[in-house]
């Protein structure tokens, strides 16, 4: 109890220095938390993937389409429960900066395959009924102030022309990791239009989504699907949804690695700041530690005081950093929602913050504590006066 009291009093002996150290640690923990969340956000699509879903695409590249006729053949493969299909639409809403992912999808099977997109029953029915209907995620709808019944016009980049849709539903994610920025509309609507304006591009599908009867059969079913279209004009590549999502992450892996490195550099910086503070503190108090030793206090007591003070300061900074991470993440997430649709601070990130601060607190005290514990009393006392 007495040691705790002493730690507290010692920690605020140099108020300005301690406050600046706490501020540095807080800023570093905040940065660390945000960077770790960015890294995690990169993988959120992978984490949200279902083990019971496969994605089939053209084996050459996702850019090349597959014939619509494959749908029935895929459906007949043993182990396949449900098949949906769609195309990346890539439409522009008013201006290019207003980006959100837009897809032409077969609506009924989409909603069956993705129960995590939660739509109220009336909106779901309205979406399925109307050929020009679309649904948008809650975040996108909020961002642009859309309401049910609004007409939304997207300018096609891959599929030319201005495309008009009526907003019939706004979906929410069943959990916080679900992307609520997407925009879906009827694939048939797009296909029929394409038949009229560019007939050669009609009946072409960007990808198939497949629901498995049993997730354990993913490998066999994938092989069976790809085997079905082997030596055809459009060979397929079937993989789990997780692997499919991962292929997008892999394209930008260098960025993720860089962010991870920076997050660890931040920890090294707080270590340097804290170690500097503790080194100065211990050097100034070597005489006092000698007095403690003179009075009969052991090296353990001295060590406890130094380690305690170091951990106390870094944990205060950590607490402040964590507190400010939440509003900062909210602001960051909303500013970056176009690129990072899901930006939530995970409990694991908070634990990492605490662990990092604790490790830094301990590491920063090692050398000063070693020095204070091992100083000869006579040498320590000589420093006073």
């Amino acid at each position: 109890m007495y040691t705790l009291k002493l730690i507290f009093k010692n920690a605020f002996r140099h108020k300005l220095r301690t406050c600046l150290t706490i501020l540095s640690v807080a800023v570093a923990i905040l940065s660390f938390g945000l960077l770790r969340t960015v890294v995690r956000a990169w993988y959120v699509g992978v984490e949200a993937s279902s083990a019971s879903r496969l994605v089939t695409r053209n084996s050459i590249s996702l850019v090349f389409p597959l014939p619509l006729s494959y749908r029935e053949k895929i459906r007949q493969v043993t182990g396949v429960k449900q098949v949906s299909h769609g195309n990346w639409f890539g439409g522009i809403y008013i201006d290019e900066k207003n980006f959100f992912p837009s897809f032409a999808m077969e609506p009924k099977t989409l909603l069956e395959l993705y129960p995590e997109y939660v739509l109220p029953p009336d909106q779901k029915a309205a979406f399925l009924r109307d050929r020009k209907a679309c649904v948008a995620g809650l975040k996108t709808a909020r961002k642009y102030g859309w309401k049910i019944g609004d007409t939304i016009t997207l300018k096609g980049t891959i599929f030319p022309g201005n495309w008009e849709f009526v907003l019939r539903g706004i979906y929410k994610g069943s959990n916080k990791n679900i992307d609520e920025t997407q925009f879906f509309f009827h694939w048939d609507y797009m296909n029929e239009t394409m038949k009229k304006i560019i007939p050669r591009r009609a009946d072409q599908v960007g990808f198939y989504m497949i629901e498995l009867k049993d997730p354990d059969t993913a490998a066999e079913v994938s092989l069976a699907i790809d085997g079905t279209f082997k030596n055809s004009l459009a060979e397929t590549l079937t993989e789990t949804e997780k692997a499919f999502q991962m292929s997008f992450v892999s394209m930008t892996e260098a960025i993720v690695v860089a962010i991870q490195l920076v997050s660890f550099v931040v920890i090294i910086i707080i270590f340097a700041v804290s170690a500097n503070t503790m080194a100065m503190t211990a050097r100034e108090r070597l005489g006092e530690y000698a007095v403690f030793k003179t009075l009969g206090f052991s090296g353990w007591h001295i060590g406890a005081m130094i380690f305690g003070e170091s951990i106390f300061i870094t944990m205060l900074g950590c607490a402040a950093g964590i507190i400010f991470t939440f509003p900062a993440a909210k602001a960051f997430g909303s500013a970056m929602s176009t690129f990072i649709p899901v930006f939530n601070i995970e409990t694991k990130t908070i634990y990492m913050d605490i662990a990092a601060a604790l490790i830094v607190g301990i590491a920063a005290a090692v050398f000063p504590a070693y020095r204070a514990i091992n100083i000869r009393i006579a040498d320590g006392l000589r420093r006073i006066g």
Binding site: T294, G296, F297, A378, G385
Partner: protein, 250 residues
Amino acid sequence: MPEKAPIVEIRNLFKSYQRGSQTIPVLQDIDLDIAEGEFLALMGPSGSGKTTLLNLIAGIDRADSGIMRIGGIDITPLSETDLAKWRAANVGFIFQFYNLIPVLTAYENVELPLLLTGLSKKERREHVETALRLVNLGDRMEHYPTQLSGGQQQRVAIARAVVPDPSIIVADEPTGDLDRVSAFEILDLMEKLVHEFGKTIIMVTHDPRAAQEAHVVRNLEKGVLTEERGPGSGGKGQGREDFGFRTPAP
């Protein structure tokens, strides 16, 4: 002084310091007996080894060779841990610059040595209050060192030294940083500790007039004890008007 069993027995004590490749002898073949209840002053010029000898007696430094029996215990073979425990139980320290912990109040500073004992909080309080009243600081318990004068700080340091009831008190230039009036108060207190409480005090000073308060004065010259003066050489109050203590600032 009546003959008493020596509480400090030192025989053939040698101590040297290493400076680079050079060995500098500090204490050479010291023999010293200090009787229980004696007030001994160690004198000598700077660098004569006074503080080193005091540190050795107090168990905060180690001799190169020799025997040091303090209170019947040979402290030379004790480990650091045992020596720390022995110090806590047997030796009280008074320093020139008081060495109080600035973030602790007078009460908390005096309580420090008692934290190593098995005393309850209530018992500690009784001891601390008694010690602070002894040095006439019963009304300054909650004051921090910076809120006290130099003399008051030294009195807190004396209370801290006596609170675990040690048999020996070592004082290194206890009046060296004090004005004349405060120095007298401190010397009076130390005499009180000897006469009323039977403590043995070993005081290092370079001021011969301060040493006149002691029963016995020993001189150190270049690491060798050279002379002994008995109680007749000094005495309470003698020569106080000539002390070389700092006078208070106007």
